[in-house]
Amino acid sequence: MKTVITSHNNNLTSGFDKRFGRAAWYCIYDEDTGETNFVNNENINATHGAGVRAAEKMAELKVNKVISGDFGPKAKQLLNKFNIQMIIIDDENLTVQDIINKIKS
């Protein structure tokens, strides 16, 4: 099971980014091995279609869950289609590590 957490930077202490399509980095956390992997988001400055491309990327990376602050209507539709679980967390003061600890427990 792979989970993606949107983050501001590329390490575990960096903050949780509440945007999905325009998050700076995606942290891919593998629940089976406990490994984390950071992927850069090349669509951060896209004028349009960032959410759609991000959703397609999630499907490419074969993730099962995405944790973010919100999802746009198009991204929602696509993620629904790909059977990817969307999780919305409102607390923006969390770090990526905090969220991983939450899922583990």
Partner: protein, 134 residues
């Protein structure tokens, strides 16, 4: 300012993006936009053969509103057939009956995709979850 439109509940979006006429030598370049709620109204009334009262309750709207949507859907389709126009489906004023849930324990909101069987919160594994409109 007019009263806000209440969102219409749609169980599933149409399985197509549109319909195009063929075999006609005067195909109009115009198209009509069939809203998701109109598709849903046609489906409930003429495919599932519900009466308007039952159908309106399913969509979370009043019976007169359902009748209006249904009528507009029929007129649009008739218009497209007679004037050989293309039909395109458009999102409209709806919320999908896709499963959005909120966890009572940690306030996270999440979806449960079809393939997933367990009905627990993905963040704190609490079983205290409730369905929400989103």
């Amino acid at each position: 300012m007019p009263r806000r439109r209440s969102l219409r509940k749609v169980v599933a979006p149409p399985g197509f993006r549109g319909y195009k006429p063929y075999g006609s030598n005067q195909v109009s370049k115009e198209y009509i936009e069939l809203l998701y709620e109109e598709y849903e109204a046609i489906k409930l009334a003429d495919y599932d053969l519900l009466n308007h009262q039952q159908a309106s309750e399913l969509m979370g709207i009043s019976r007169p509103t359902f009748a209006r949507i249904y009528e507009s859907a029929r007129r649009k389709i008739a218009n497209a057939l007679v004037e050989t126009k293309e039909i395109k489906t458009v999102y409209g004023n709806v919320w999908m009956d896709k499963n959005w849930y909120a966890c009572i324990n940690c306030h996270a909101r999440f979806t449960i995709p079809r393939k997933m069987e367990k009905q627990t919160c993905p963040v704190c594994s609490s079983i205290q979850i409730e369905s929400i409109k989103n």
